[in-house]
């Protein structure tokens, strides 16, 4: 089943087209990356998909339903966790439910059992300042999950982490995605990260930002632990770099 689809999205700012004719698809339980250099319009596309920026043309469909320009349906997560420092963790992660009109008690009850799966057991009544960076990222992901009807948008969420932690987070993320049945659209400029995590990769080039290529990674997602040390991984990487280089000139 299709989880998310965009159709021919175009958006300009003061006469300059930032993204043009972007059509992408994300199937249920799939992890699809949007890979592009800085300035390719990734963040603009991201804002259009999350509904806070209406497109000039085109539409966004969530499980087949038109959600173009309608915020509150697809939540996202960025490099900064953006947790609210004044709310306890349980209220931070259940915030999307509260914003949707749910009572505090009910929202807490719904969020509470998920803390364990996200490795956050026991942190419910703590403030964000009392948690480590990695825990805060996981909490931000849990919040995204609770606000997302099964689809999460991730905008370079791990780019601030060191290599080892990043690797751990990758493994953890693929695991949790499997466990809770999440579909993910992952925005990144890191080729290694895209190949390591994705089922498919859309390669985006600037200006205006367009989708130039689509690459399918055939390695099964549950066999990725040392994928980055294999010749296949390097072959994918080489192919992508060539596409990125080719469109530059």
């Amino acid at each position: 089943m299709e989880a998310l689809r965009t159709e021919h999205i175009t958006r300009s700012f003061s006469g300059k087209t930032i993204i043009r004719d972007i059509s992408i698809r994300l199937m249920d339980h799939e992890l699809v990356s949007l890979l592009g250099v800085s300035g390719a319009g990734k963040t603009t596309l991201f804002n259009v998909i999350s509904g806070i920026l209406p497109p000039d043309e085109g539409g966004v469909y969530l499980h087949g339903e038109d959600v173009t320009g309608r915020p509150g349906r697809i939540s996202y997560m960025r490099q900064k966790d953006l947790l609210l420092e004044h709310l306890k963790m349980i209220d931070n992660v259940s915030l999307p439910l509260r914003l949707g009109g749910m009572k505090k008690k009910e929202a807490r009850e719904k969020a509470d059992p998920l803390f364990e799966a996200f490795g956050l057991q026991g942190t419910q009544m703590l403030y964000p300042a009392e948690l480590s960076g990695g825990m805060r990222q996981r909490a931000a992901l849990l919040r995204t999950y609770l606000g997302s009807s099964g689809v999460a948008l991730l905008d370079e969420p791990f780019s601030a982490l060191d290599m080892i932690t990043k690797g751990q987070m990758h493994g953890w993320y693929l695991d949790i995605m499997e466990k809770i049945g999440l579909s993910t659209l992952f925005i990144t400029h890191d080729v290694d990260e895209a190949v390591m995590l994705s089922d498919r990769i859309y390669i985006m080039t600037g200006s205006p930002g367009r989708i130039r290529h689509e690459i399918v990674i055939r390695q099964p997602r549950n066999e990725r632990s040392e994928f980055d040390l294999t010749p296949e991984f390097l072959a994918y990487k080489k192919e992508i770099l060539q596409i990125l280089k080719g469109t530059d000139s």
Partner: protein, 262 residues
Amino acid sequence: MKERSENTTRKLPALTALALIVFFWWALCESGAVPSYMLPSPADVVRAFVSDFPNLTFHAKTTLLEAFYGLLIGIALAFVIATVMDRFRTLKEALSPILVITQTIPTIAIAPLLVLWMGFGMAPKITLVVITTFFPIAVGLLDGYRSVDLDEINLMRAMGAGSGQIFRYVKFPSALPFFFSGLRISASYAVVGAVIAEWLGGFEGLGVYMTRVKKAYAFDRMFAVIILIVVISLLLMALVDLIRDLAMPWHRVKAVNQNHNS
């Protein structure tokens, strides 16, 4: 326990400086370099404070009441105006210069006018306190609203929050520390503002009492009033800190974490 002793150590230089100043004051009076009718010695002031205590508390009650009402109205007014200014940009542009201009008017110059307009009762005193306390709080709140991370607001919008919810969950909590910094300053202004207004006429209050003892050349009692005003201002500031810690428990957690990290 350890924290408390650390706290005392940190305050030691300030306490030593204060003790030194009192000592020089005392020495100056004892040596006879300054006649006692011009500058009473610290011991005289303490004696006056004790013997005059019933009078002082009677007048302090009025001043505190004026300061309290004025501060309360000042907070409410500052909150409404700052919030509306933040919400409507044109209004902000229109009012910002006026706000600054009001602060350049010396309070001592408008106090007689207020007495003229409102009489000798509490009204002119409260009004003056409102005028002096309003500004630091309003500016604090405005800065606070502006300090909000735009990414946070965008995320809230993506999660479907309306502008009321964004205010409640993001803007207001972010502005709270700024609000309390402003309130701390305003609390100390409030007492001084009330006293200044009382100088210019009235029946009760520390300012009224000050003018009376001044006319009687009872400088020891005048110093006792000044010390009481200082003590009240410091206590009010401590009270604001206490309320801040209660209102923002997350702030304390943060401060503790930073201390540990450093």
